[in-house]
């Protein structure tokens, strides 16, 4: 195969674009897709301070790398989840990237900063690990972004993630979740703005980006992900994609174009009734927020400050 752009020998094929690329043109393609997504959804301005949610995996490292290349003032935030065999190497990948790019990495460690880990938190709060993990990450990112004076939090959700979540939401016709499934969630009322600049790139593309850029990332999966519902949805979507390339993108983009009117008001309504959590000040509709409940049940201290230096 030859590169669609320059006709040199190709190293990656992207079947949904019916195209193959050489290394340079592929890296350019990825950057262009991020720039397009940022522009199309008005995610952030060129002078805004961005906090990238960095896990040490392919998506978040590719995202951070691309945002830095484009010229954003982008810092990373890594959260140590205390997951044996996974958290330590993931953290090392995040640190190595930050050092190589001379970028600023903020680190929060659930065990040493808050006194619990994902597993004990999940057990104490009777949740599955990914639910406890997601709740913790959202809380810490929100807090860190607000405390650190960042304008926006960028996460590495890619096209495959979004298509899988969409499939799950549609299978259950969960209108409240569908309403919230957008590439940009506006900030305000105690929330930072959140954006997903990788929504035009599939995970095969973000992985290829890392390989071609020589970015070392955490390839081995988190041990808690086995049997995760989203993995099942991804498998199903990939089986369809294999027969008709472009299905995932058509599914997700069609939702953004035509389906997202579905919940615009719902999204507004949701913010009514919010008040600051008496314990940690995060916005909540409950007496005490879900994060504080989880941490207290797990025997930790939710009020610990997140060590973010406001610039």
């Amino acid at each position: 195969m030859k590169c669609k752009v320059c006709r040199r020998p190709a190293v990656v094929d992207v079947r949904r674009h019916n195209a193959a690329f050489c290394s340079d043109c592929f890296l350019g393609h990825c950057r262009a897709q991020v720039e397009r997504a940022v522009k199309e959804h008005r995610m952030m301005g060129p002078d805004e301070r961005v906090l990238v949610a960095v896990s040490g995996g392919k998506d978040s490292l590719a995202l951070w790398d691309i945002l830095l290349d484009i010229g954003y003032q982008a810092d990373g935030l890594y959260i140590g989840l205390g997951i044996a065999g996974y958290s330590q190497p993931s953290g090392e990948h995040a640190r190595a990237f930050a050092a190589a790019r001379q970028a600023h990495l903020v680190e929060v460690d659930l065990p040493s900063d808050f006194g619990y880990d994902v597993k004990t938190g999940a057990a104490a709060d009777r949740r599955v690990p990914c639910s406890a993990c997601g709740l913790s990450k959202r809380h810490v990112f929100d807090r860190a972004a607000l405390d650190g004076g960042y304008d926006v939090v960028a996460t590495g959700h890619n096209l495959d993630d979004e298509a899988a979540v969409l499939l799950g939401n549609v299978l259950r016709w969960d209108v409240a979740y569908l309403a919230r499934q957008r590439p940009v969630l506006p900030g305000g009322e105690g929330f930072p703005r959140k954006v997903k600049p990788l929504v035009k790139l599939g995970e095969r593309e973000t992985a290829a980006y890392c390989v071609l850029k020589g970015l070392d990332y955490q390839v081995e999966e988190c041990p808690m992900s086995a049997g995760n519902r989203h993995l099942g949805y991804k498998e199903a979507l990939n089986a369809i994609e294999e027969r008709s390339p472009g299905t995932k993108a058509a599914f997700y983009n069609g939702f953004l174009d035509r389906g997202s009117a579905l919940g615009a008001e719902l999204c507004q309504d949701e913010r009514e009734g919010l008040h600051p959590c008496p314990s940690c000040a995060a916005p909540t509709t409950a007496a005490v927020c879900a994060f504080c409940k989880l941490v207290e049940r797990a025997g930790g201290d939710p009020r610990r400050r997140i060590p973010v230096t406001a610039l």
Binding site: M1, A10, V11, V12, D13, R15, A20, S23, K58, D59, C130, S131, C133, G134, L135, K137, R138, H157, D160, E162, A164, V165, G168, Y177, R180, Q181, L185, F191, K194, E203, R204, A207, A208, V211, L212, V219, E220, E221, C222, M224, S225, A226, N228, H230, L231, K234, E235, N238, A239, E241, E242, E270, R271, L274, P283, T284, T285, A286, C289, A290
Partner: protein
Amino acid sequence: MGGVKVLLRNPKRELEVPGPLGVLALLEQLGYIREAVLVIVDGTLVTGDATIADGSGVEIRPVVSGGATGPAPTGSPR
């Protein structure tokens, strides 16, 4: 004839198949679909139409990651 050394990830393991063979044939033989993996031959990413020479080292790297990618549970916006 050294065969083709194949490195699989997650968990890491190694096996050997007779070469030379095409990338798609290798994936089919091992039960992978293209969309879910990258194929790296002797350290270089290759496209689906590539042929893998006997004696090469191949990594089949899964690209599908799992985890909580959904929005927050109802009742706690995001």
